[in-house]
Symmetry: C2
Subunit: 214 residues, 2 copies
DNA sequence: CAGGAAGGTTGACGCCGTCTACTTCTGCGC
DNA sequence: GCGCAGAAGTAGACGGCGTCAACCTTCCTG
């Protein structure tokens, strides 16, 4: 192994900076991330990180890139039911579960202005991959013969489904939500309800006797 | 009138600070807003704003509050068709239109961590008002007899519709979207498509011969 | 062995928010 | 008419930030 967990001057400072920055973001969010703090926590001078990253934006891009990787991997590892309807639902659950479990990392990916994307193609590749996962799951839904389902309709529906998930993920974490004084049961049921509504919107009928999946 | 448009030492510095800060946010976003810059642009010492606001967060809260007011007013002034389906669609259009026309103000309201909401109740009142507008429009939809439509279902559907709109608004402005290389027609049609899908999701059938409203 | 690059250090600059102390103006009670 | 309190504005300082520049080690290589 080439890195040490923490402290005692890491042998691989470049990697240690990323890890420490990830930890800081997970604790208190992107906006409170400072390279000086990273250096301080690593017991290293405030300029040391600059030997490995030209600027704060560059280390941020690296972190965003890894967040996308972790997110994509998480979505890929979701439980697969074999049933297209179930698969899409599990995808939605995985998406929202991640957003709620890692709110600061989620915000990092989708909630803050990113550094110039053209300079970080692999980060963008991960984003495309995630969208492709969603697109595939939707394409497999029953009642939608592939031949009558043009690419554009598919893109539009993927965009729609993504909007619901991203919107709900953002809203569930937003300060605004707390002032609405919604009943706790409403908040608990919000995800299942939204996923069921997505099913309805896409014309997928739940089998009889299965009103709303738990 | 008690304020001057710009320059020549405003008679009402408190108001002028808000206006200048709004302008800065509209130009370059919240994160680049600094009280020193505001003071500089107003030709006033860097401490002058602090005579009217205890901290940066307080002036920010004032601005967020006004953004909510403007947004709520905009939504209230949307065109009303008299038809519940059309009203909901126009509401969606107004919402997304505002988000796209004023991306930085929209991000200010929904995309950044807000100052402690409990200290700014009127700001929260505006947010509640907006949600109530949406709730009312949904309650009026046909095919949903009021008696069988419990408050919780209504809340859940309002949350769902809001998720779509907020999600789409965010995604259409996100850097991530640009890397997906979607066809321009897809992007143009995205809003209408999402609004139509909302209709389907809520069980509202479009009249025959009206596939997707323009 | 010379030399040079990679990696780390110290110091400085100009930004920022914020604290404190000083001035200037204004209105009000006496 | 006077004095004085308080509001409004100014000036300076502090620490934190990102970043630039200069310097020092260490170690690998031609």
């Amino acid at each position: 192994m080439t890195t040490e967990g923490r402290k005692g001057r890491p042998t691989d400072l470049r990697e240690a900076c990323v890890q420490e920055a990830l930890a800081i973001i997970g604790e208190s969010g992107v906006e409170s991330l400072s390279l000086r703090d990273v250096a301080r926590r690593l017991g290293v001078s405030h300029q040391a990180p600059y030997k490995h990253y030209p600027s704060r934006d560059h280390i941020l891009a690296e972190i965003v890139s890894r967040s996308f990787s972790a997110f994509a991997q998480y979505l890929d590892e979701r439980s697969k039911t074999g049933d297209p309807r179930g698969d899409l639902r599990e995808m939605g659950r995985a998406y929202l579960g991640y957003a709620i479990a890692q709110p600061l990392h989620y915000r990092l990916m989708f909630g803050t202005p990113l550094p110039d994307p053209r300079q970080h193609p692999e980060m963008m590749g991960r984003a495309r991959h995630t969208f492709a996962l969603l697109r595939t799951d939707i394409a497999r839904l029953p009642g939608r013969p592939a031949e009558s389902y043009s690419d554009r309709s598919l893109d539009l529906d993927a965009l729609f489904v993504w909007s619901v998930m991203h919107g709900l993920a953002s809203i569930l974490q937003s300060h605004v939500l707390k002032t609405l004084d919604l009943a706790p049961e409403v908040l608990e049921a919000a995800i299942s309800h939204a996923l069921a509504r997505i099913g309805t919107a896409l014309g997928v009928r739940a089998p009889e006797g299965e009103p709303i999946p738990p």
